[in-house]
Symmetry: C2
Subunit: 171 residues, 2 copies
């Protein structure tokens, strides 16, 4: 039995391999994108993907009200995009923080420069304390042709996980 | 809107970056280890990690009855270990499939050759159809000293995800 300190919890959870994605969300005419890393598929029929979202974030507020979101993955040679989405995003016609987006028929923003994306409908949400786990059924998805490596947390200097501390993305 | 075929769902979900871990489980004197990849942290307080487990697996049966499990991650230069745990494991005193294990005070098997592990207590489980999502509160964890890359799905020729099909791990 180790001494389960916050430091040990941080350094150990930071080592769990995770992808990075921009979560697209909207409600009425408000749109947002937020970098997130707590993402995994969890069911095959229906194909269901979970994402963990900070309860204090704008994205949490938008998904909770609207029930739809997107997960947009990028190539590992384009990780600068994630830095752009560490605070609430600015929408101007067809763009979020100058990244071109397309709206689905459900009005969910999809990032045009992503290499794969999923559009999802929330089928379950669970407030776990600091974060809410949204489970989404895949409505649509896209995979770019060609060879690329999908960007992961470990391709960047970002760390996310462990115990609560200052400086988290709150957008 | 794409045509959401099983092939598109498979190839796209397979690209989601995921780690690989051996899930340790037990009930009474039955012990098991199973390779799994649907893993992510989802909450900071308490530190909570989710794993998706096939409903037809022995691991599902053991965790459901016992309420504890471990997640054991290995170095990317030791991915052969995952191949050993694609069917129900054979336990002989102190070993699962010849991999040395230690039992925690809750009797959960921990793999001695892992580079990081978590011991978890199930705080919520949700049957999503083909798989159950177990959310576990971290009771204990370990991180090996030194430099290593934690093994991910993409370090192997394994693929897991997408829609139901034959040939899945059922252990």
């Amino acid at each position: 039995m180790s001494e389960l300190t916050p430091e040990l919890l941080n350094t150990t959870t930071w080592k769990i391999p995770n992808g990075l994605a921009i979560v697209g969300s909207h409600h009425e005419q408000e749109f947002n994108g937020m970098t997130a890393s707590w993402i995994s598929q969890f069911n095959m029929d229906p194909v269901t993907i979970g994402v963990g979202i900070d309860n204090t974030s704008l994205t949490h507020s938008l998904i909770s009200r609207n029930g739809f979101f997107s997960l947009n993955f990028f190539s590992s040679d384009n990780t600068k995009v994630f830095v752009k989405f560490s605070k609430p995003a600015k929408y101007t016609d067809g763009y979020l923080n100058e990244e071109p987006i397309t709206l689905t028929t459900n009005n969910v923003p999809i990032f045009n420069n992503s290499v794969l994306w999923f559009e999802l409908k929330v089928i379950n949400s669970q407030n776990l304390g600091t974060h809410t786990l949204y489970l989404g059924k895949v409505l649509d998805c896209y995979l770019k042709d060609g060879d690329f490596k999908v960007a992961e947390m470990s391709d960047t200097r970002m760390k996310y996980g462990g115990v609560p501390r200052g400086g988290h993305n709150k957008n």
